[in-house]
């Protein structure tokens, strides 16, 4: 009896519409973020994360309205990431009804931004998103570095040191994505997840690579993650969040059923 491990569906939103093909069988308009969020809420999602992939500044206003609309109807925690660069960006998202914001490249550019944000709004709403890629050769001890620009741009920053630094600066949670696994459906990088999760004392969300339900359980049991984030496995109606939780529960993982 105690704290449940969380399942967090992630939705990519471009100019107010869910993209990357969410295809629930019985939803008329699967591109509507409100409909999709409601469906995941009904399935028992513990939180929902929106990733704003809108390119232009002007269209970012749309994301604020999406958050407002979802927060009026879905009463579970909402996180918004993508394009969060200023204290004003954070304030707008929180006022719209987001509970947490994900900060990624803005933190790499200016680590003090995370400190400023945590001091202003509290650590509980500051999630630092880390995109890590394995840089060690096979016969070397494992080592990962932070990459930006969707995994294309190396920074030379060690992932473990970076995670510790971000927590010291006030991050309340780490969203950890393996750039080697993202989109591969071959499971989380469990060694990376475990290494980071054991190195910091804030919750870690594992992300990148989920292809089947067992991957989620592995992320918790072997990766020591506190929460697991997945996109495509839920989008196409292959599996529901409820099924995922039942599978996790059958392996002794505490979940909210």
């Amino acid at each position: 009896m105690g704290l449940a491990k969380r399942i967090i569906p992630c939705l990519d939103v471009d100019n107010g519409r869910v993209v990357k093909g969410v295809q629930f069988v019985d939803i008329r308009d699967a591109g509507d973020p409100i409909e999709v969020a409601k469906r995941y809420d009904e399935q028992g999602a513990d939180e929902i994360t929106f990733l704003d992939i809108t390119a232009t500044h002007h269209e970012r206003d749309t994301m604020v309205h999406v958050v407002e609309a979802v927060a009026s109807q879905v009463f579970i925690p909402l996180t918004v990431g993508g394009g969060i660069r200023t204290v004003e960006d954070i304030r707008r998202m929180l006022n719209a009804g987001a509970d947490k914001v994900g900060i990624n490249s803005a933190a790499v550019k200016n680590p003090d931004f995370v400190r400023e944000a945590a001091e202003r709004f509290g650590s509980q709403c500051i999630v630092v998103a880390i995109d890590a890629k394995r840089v060690s050769a096979e016969d070397e001890p494992s080592r990962w570095e932070i990459f930006t620009h969707g995994g294309r741009q190396p920074t030379g920053i060690d992932a473990v040191e970076w995670a510790r630094k971000m927590v010291a600066n006030g991050a309340g949670e780490i969203l950890l994505t393996s750039m080697d696994r993202d989109g591969t459906k071959s499971g989380f990088d469990l060694e990376l997840t475990r290494t980071i999760s054991d190195a910091v004392d804030v919750p870690v969300i594992a992300s990148g690579g989920v292809g089947q339900l067992q991957d989620l359980s592995d992320g918790i049991i072997e990766g020591h993650a506190d929460a697991v984030l997945a996109a495509s496995i839920f989008h196409f109606g292959e599996h529901t969040v409820q099924e995922a939780k039942q599978q996790m529960a059958s392996q002794g993982i505490e979940v909210r059923l």
């Binding site: 009896m1 704290l3 009463f75 929180l94 009804g97 509970d99 309340g172 004392d201 506190d226």
Partner: protein, 214 residues
């Protein structure tokens, strides 16, 4: 008609709280988000939310002239504190190197000192996610909420009231802590009912329908 005032003192997101209250109230109550003392004093129910750090919370209440309003409404109307709002109701908090709080309920707010799990490894702080709430009393606000229901928590500090009789629920994280407290017309939760789906909405509905008697 009932009027529920959500106290706006600049701490965090009030939209979710007000939307959740509107959802459960329907036509039976009006929900206002306000920092106006008269408006708050004239409401039938007062909700005192909060996220962030306690020093800012107390400073903002003072700066906006709302400190006494909170204390006064907590004596006179159905009153509910949430998360930091709950913590601010106690006498003193360890956060920010020690801050005197409102003293509505005598007691301390303490940090999770990197507690150990049963397995002996350290627990993550903040305590974040869905945990079970074990009701330790009969209370109108627990109506239609199953024993040990899960609610959403996110906090690094917890309340330790001086009088254990005010504890309305406990939750286990490393150790048991008070996840809800009550006294007379006051009820407060460490968790966020506005983010706790069905059980949370039920609790808020119970609050809107509450006459302040426990």
């Amino acid at each position: 008609m009932r009027r529920v005032a959500v106290i706006d003192y600049g701490m965090g997101n009030l939209r979710s709280v007000s939307k959740a209250l509107e959802t459960v109230s329907g036509q039976s109550a009006q929900v206002i988000v306000s920092s106006d003392p008269d408006e708050i004093l004239s409401a039938s129910h007062v909700l005192f939310p909060g996220v962030g750090a306690i020093r800012d919370c107390i400073d903002e209440l003072k700066r906006r002239g709302l400190k006494d309003i909170v204390s006064e409404t907590a004596r006179s109307k159905p009153f509910m504190g949430i998360c930091l709002g709950m913590q601010a109701m106690l006498s003193h908090s360890e956060e920010n190197n020690g801050i005197d709080a409102l003293g509505i309920i005598p007691g301390q707010v303490k940090a999770f000192n990197k507690p150990l799990s049963a397995r002996g490894d350290k627990l993550k702080v903040p305590h974040m996610g869905w945990n079970q709430v074990h009701q330790t009393c009969d209370h109108p606000l627990w109506k239609n909420i199953e024993q040990d229901s899960r609610f959403y928590f996110v906090h690094g500090y917890f309340v330790s009231p001086a009088d254990p009789a005010v504890v309305a629920a406990t939750t286990h994280y490393g150790d048991d802590f008070a996840s809800a407290i009550y006294r007379d017309n006051v009820f407060a939760t460490q968790f966020h009912p506005e983010k706790s789906q069905r059980a949370g909405l039920q609790l808020l509905e119970n609050f809107v329908n509450w006459d302040g008697q426990s």
